[in-house]
Symmetry: C2
Subunit: 362 residues, 2 copies
Amino acid sequence: MDEFASIRHWTANRQPASWQHARGVALGIGDDAAALDFGNAEDGITGDKRLLLAMDTMVESVHFSERTMRDEDIGFKALAANVSDIAAMGGVPLHAVVSVSVPRAYGAERMKRVYDGLYSCAERYGIAVVGGDTTSSPAHMVISVALTGAVEAGLELRRSGAKAGDAVFVTGPVGMSAAGLHLLQHAGASRWAEGSQRLDDNSYGVLCAAHQRPAPSVLAGRLLLKSGFCHSLNDVSDGLSSEAWELAEASGLRLVLEERLLPKSGSLSTYAASVGVNPLEWMLYGGEDYVLVGTVLRESADSVKAEFHRHGLPFYVIGRTEEGPPDVELIPLSSRMDGAGAKAPRGHRVKVEKKGYNHFGT
Amino acid sequence: MDEFASIRHWTANRQPASWQHARGVALGIGDDAAALDFGNAEDGITGDKRLLLAMDTMVESVHFSERTMRDEDIGFKALAANVSDIAAMGGVPLHAVVSVSVPRAYGAERMKRVYDGLYSCAERYGIAVVGGDTTSSPAHMVISVALTGAVEAGLELRRSGAKAGDAVFVTGPVGMSAAGLHLLQHAGASRWAEGSQRLDDNSYGVLCAAHQRPAPSVLAGRLLLKSGFCHSLNDVSDGLSSEAWELAEASGLRLVLEERLLPKSGSLSTYAASVGVNPLEWMLYGGEDYVLVGTVLRESADSVKAEFHRHGLPFYVIGRTEEGPPDVELIPLSSRMDGAGAKAPRGHRVKVEKKGYNHFGT
């Protein structure tokens, strides 16, 4: 099969023309470029709207391996990472183009599964896949996705809008994906192959799913935008620390997080204890959780939280912002000992390192 | 340098904010996604406009190597290939996002040069670079670019609109890039290193430039769209044969090309003769020329050609379309001998193979 025949094979009849039409697609896969009636797409945006454009790439052996991700997961997550970017602007995702470069030896079946996962994600988020290309690769798979979205003009949620005195929040637990990756790298593949119960165990399955099938919440971003109280927003792709630092630097202030307020899942704690890892390490420096982190007007945090709960979504206030040069600090659990074994004084702060997520320690 | 610092370093101050603003950029590089006032971009489109979206990827050792492309060329060509896709819809390019995955050993200097070339292309075509990412790669460089554009709603030039009796045209010589690649692979690098005159020779320099710095013409696409006579359009990325077959299949008719009408540059002929290659092989099956191929209402071909010439652009009628199942045929030069050494009869046709461009024979 030549390239076009392959792409047609993998993409034909995946999304009905009428459904694509509702997303503004005048011309989809199969020409030089897609043609999109952006102004008329049914995206729920009223009034003037802006076009959002994001792009994200996943590289085999850097972001995934056969041990950590099934082919379907690769396609799903490549698109989901972009959905997270659009959600972090408060927008609605619309149109995706996809480029895969892949060693010939991987064969058509594996490519089909990558596309299966991609379309599964597209269906979940109502995204029209409108183009892309495939090329061969000498050694490893690389998948790039570019995604458009729409947002009310002027209301997009930037990193730079935080104000001193804001409440800092996250919209879900952090560190789950890093724990899942650790599990998959250290125990996952062999246990899986042996059919052990361990991975079927619900708590561990949740960790693997967090890594393999992240579920960014477009609704969370929309609720934040519509609340009118959200001053800054980011998605947790490179770890809470890294994203908090971005907010601090873009907005020019200090973020103070409280360890006791950080949402920590039971499965994360259990697994971390079983392998002797400090869960805080994953929670601060693990990436790819694709929850949202941002700041809201402090007085409105409760009402935003209530609105999230009405929609069945979690919302955790984890700290606050302060005047000052860009910085991120953490107030540890008061029971935690300091380096010398003494109990840290109440309200004691430690600096949060500005380090990002390193997938495979490279 | 972390990823963000690097991207900022390579992209900072490349394009003034006021200039980006004129292209509709409300928020460029540095947040989760770019925010674009698509409706208000100064793109020369009047009335309802559609968003165009294209994506293209280049892979080291598949599309380029150190022998064939300088780092600046890689960045330039990755964007130019997408410009060609937008031009082939009759549109105007607007906003680019760029993703590069690169081995760490390549270092920051090489990345800077890739971006130098990319921005050089962006400047030439008035494209705002609004985002993207860099990731590490275990073995080879992969560069993906997604590009938006704008076009008058409903007037975009598709592959599927050719009508029987149309004139088939190309907007420039074909086979130049393939000849340049051959030269670079077989003689280029060593000659270059030796400082020989050979590559400084104008005719050979033209061939190398055709491969390394393709110059798609947005104006050509705009003239075709505005003429109202262009029924179908494609860009020559995978070779004239492959693109002609796409037009034939998308439009459901036969294309008949005449060898005597194909534009053949003198440098192509000279170089082909010097290395014993039939230039027709490069002209039909060589790719990456990024000229446009399409069909116009036959009676209007002369007026379109005159309009092209008024703008200093070439325009060559190379054949016609006929009723029939999708097919591409060539009428060889009447002086050409057939396989048995006999002179082919006048008007004799040969089938043009539906084969695409293979960069490195893989």
